[in-house]
Symmetry: none
Subunit: 199 residues, 4 copies
DNA sequence: CATGAATGAGTCTTCATTCAT
DNA sequence: TATGAATGAAGACTCATTCAT
């Protein structure tokens, strides 16, 4: 079992990193937020980088695990895509801080993100495979599965992120939050399955 | 007309900011890239913040202008949406550095981005209005126009960004780049107009 | 008898201090090298300072003891000087780590070394007394016995140190090492007894 | 011409490094001693390491230059050796701070000193060549010229260093200091040319 | 207008030492 | 006795900003 303080630190780190971004976040703040001395963080983590990377990796792992579980619990590609949309939306809405952390840093040139991009790609490939299966079964129709996967990922991520920021500004109740999640899921579903056009 | 050095500085700034992100970018680097002394930047810009904000505002202004022109050149909401997708894709693919700059920083909590978010919202509202018009004319069908606008913005932005990074890694020819742009446009169009499902 | 762990720690300390110098040596390294927990060191030694000083004192004590034994086993000042040169060379060549430790820190301004300098002075005085006895017996001839003692100490120490570093770079066999020791002894003897000049 | 502040910093650095040693010296102290802000040092020097290395290199260059000049102004190996002893003694006694700096760090394992050792070796080789020339001319007699060179270097360096420390403790007048220098020169000469033994 | 040397507040990181177990 | 997690003071280094020339 992981040492207790490590968890406290990780929690504080998510908080601070998600609020400030990697560069603006100060180790002092994380220490204070965690209620430990600065040295304690360095006893458990090699560096700011290390702490951050650990967070990202763990977060992506959770996300991918959650997505896989939702996908595997369904059979048809259509239902699986629905599952994925639900998983994505709920996971991020329920882990708002982590969502900001992941999505904020998901786009950037720096080396730090190179490694992180691998996990992102893994997640996107999950979507891609789904699309390809749907095409194979004749359910879906699309010229570029890979691009479609990225676009869907983008749509879902940006929409969630946008709502999270709104949620942050006006502190909403959990019911309202749940309502927003449903709206996100419905919006994404409509975009992906029905498109804008009236048939 | 703007002073010549100002343009040199702005160009260098786009370059550096887009490569490094705001926090990692150093005024020294910008000065060097621009071939001017560091003091010169401060003669023309109040601060790093100021330089950055100017860049963002100008970039968003161009983007919004470009989008408006494409929209206005069409009549029906469907064609206008097509125009917008083309405008978005082409503008960002042709202004890769600016694209990274805008999209990298489009997601983040910090105050710096608060102001910038206003322009983003203006752009998204352009999409939203389009959708609402489409609904009014009976062309479109959608429950949450605002969320749809954000989702489409997200899909388009992330897809472009993704391709820009790939382009950066393997230096592609301009024909290939053009090809990619077409693929992006087609993918987004399919997502928005046809959806995944075979009708 | 000293506690077993104390010896383990002392051995590790010699190793690490001699490799890294006092300032660069880390208590963590010493603990690891000794295979004990860091706290254990502090159970047996008051501080890093204390550990180091103990090492130095013990080392100098051994050196001085060794020198005295060699001196006392001879009668004439000339033979005693020979004995001292042999003792010095052999002791340091056989205790390379200790040698580096002692000689590295023998030269420095810091307070830590003030105390250590006392032992050095004691050792040098051994040489000085020898010279004075030689002068008294008419064997030696020299204007400044004290300076002569220091110069001889310097010659012997630096030569040994130099060879130890060479030995470290190219791992030599013990025969070669023995050979080097003989060369050192002979060189020092020639310097002290015959001088450069052909009579 | 080197910028003025650079010289001020270098001077302060010699002072502080020679008093404290590399590890104990604080950049803050050097800045304060130089009367400049800490950042100014970093504007001119890449790092503490860089500052230190520069100092060492410059110092050794001066020393070697001084030695060469003294050697070249004499003809016979005997006189040249005398010249070298004078150069060594006077140079170090007149540049006490530099002497401590150079000699303190001349003995140590760390990488920092590896580079510095090259200069030391160059200086020692100067002595070695001298000895070899003396052997060729039949003036000198010695089995191991290289070891002899090192021993002489050690004798001279340690003797000077020892006197510098004594000088530091009791602040001596410059006449006394000059007197000490003469005593050093005479002692070394006797050691090198006459040896202990009465012929 | 332009320069670039100088500044110093702000950060990350290290490491000797302590202490509850 | 022994441990090793926790501490926090200390120190190297960065970089946006200023200002005298």
């Amino acid at each position: 079992m992981r040492h207790q303080k490590v968890d406290v630190i990780l929690q504080a780190a998510v908080e601070v990193f998600s609020d400030q971004g990697f560069d603006q976040a100060k180790m002092d703040d994380i220490a204070q937020a965690a209620g430990v001395a600065k040295g304690t963080i360095y006893y458990h983590f090699k560096s700011k980088e290390d702490l951050f990377t650990g967070l990202m990796d763990e977060g992506m792992e959770k996300l991918i695990g959650c997505a896989k579980r939702h996908i595997d619990s369904e059979d048809s590609p259509v239902d699986q895509m629905h599952g994925l949309i639900r998983a994505h939306s709920q996971f991020f809405m329920e882990n708002g801080k982590l969502a900001k952390l992941l999505l904020n840093e998901a786009f950037g040139t720096k080396e730090r993100q190179q490694k992180f991009r691998a996990s992102i790609r893994e997640y996107i490939q999950l979507i891609e495979l789904l699309i390809e299966r749907g095409i194979a079964t004749g359910d879906f129709q699309f010229d570029y599965p890979s691009e479609m996967a990225i676009a869907i990922f983008g749509a879902g991520s940006v929409l969630v992120l946008h709502k999270l920021y709104a949620l942050e500004d006006n502190a909403w109740t959990s019911e309202e939050s749940e309502e927003v999640t449903q709206m996100i899921i419905q919006s994404l579903s409509q975009l992906v399955f029905r498109s804008l056009l009236i048939k």
